[in-house]
């Protein structure tokens, strides 16, 4: 596709369940980023991948959060034992160089 694709667009889950969020970056983009946007908050950095380098995980809020990027393309963000405070829009972005970051439309996660 022409842009960053994220799925699902909406996810409702019960507290304590695990969820997986998927991101398909723009073809050929070497860098991939995950951000989180909570109601009334700006975007919060979670993690980024650059080529074959070790990912920068410094923004992950707890060890319940993890992400992987397979084959330098698709990425999955996994949240284990979801909590209500995890409810947010999870945004993925990719870039060829350092800028610009091209964002997807996000996955809206609701934990009930």
């Amino acid at each position: 596709g022409a842009g960053v694709s994220q799925s699902p667009s909406n996810k409702v889950t019960e507290k304590g369940k695990d969820v997986e969020l998927r991101c398909d970056p723009i073809s050929g983009h070497t860098a991939l980023y995950w951000y989180r946007q909570s109601l009334g908050q700006g975007l919060e950095f979670l993690i980024y991948f650059q080529g074959n380098s070790a990912p920068d995980k410094s923004g992950l809020p707890s060890d319940r959060f993890s992400a992987e990027r397979t084959g330098g393309s698709v990425s999955t963000l996994t949240i284990q034992r979801t909590q209500q405070e995890d409810s947010a829009v999870y945004l993925c972005a990719s870039s060829l160089g350092r800028l610009p970051l091209h964002f997807g439309n996000g996955t809206r996660l609701t934990v009930t």
Binding site: V4, G40, G42, L43, D56, G59, L99, F103, N105
Partner: protein
């Protein structure tokens, strides 16, 4: 205190008005400054970015950076209803491996009335 402060608004202006959006920041290590526009239920899209102090113009949009005051602005001339969106400032450090970490402001909600 947040590293980047942005008035969330909301800001409401008539069509044709000049809009001024602003952010202040506390970390003098920020070197790259960006403005993103985000429509409802969409991802942010990059409008403009500048390096260090100065002005940059692109059509109806002008970005200004004043590093001495730790203050950045985005001006929109001849505002249109299609400019109605949330505007997010963002910034990052120069060099190293931190270029993936953008620090965002809270976002300002702008509505332009016909």
């Amino acid at each position: 205190q947040k590293e980047v402060e942005q008035d969330p608004g909301p800001l409401s202006v008539p069509e044709g008005a000049i809009v001024s959006l602003n952010c202040t920041y506390s970390n003098s290590a920020f070197q790259y400054f960006m403005w993103y526009r985000q429509y409802s239920r969409k991802g942010p899209e990059l409008l403009m970015y500048t390096y260090s102090s100065g002005n940059k113009e692109d059509g109806r949009f002008t970005a200004q950076v004043d590093k001495s005051s730790k203050y950045i602005s985005l001006f929109i001339r001849d505002s249109q209803p299609s400019d109605s969106a949330t505007y997010l400032c963002a910034m990052r450090y120069a060099g190293g491996t931190s270029y993936g970490k953008l620090t965002f402001g809270q976002g300002t909600i702008l509505t332009v009335h016909p």
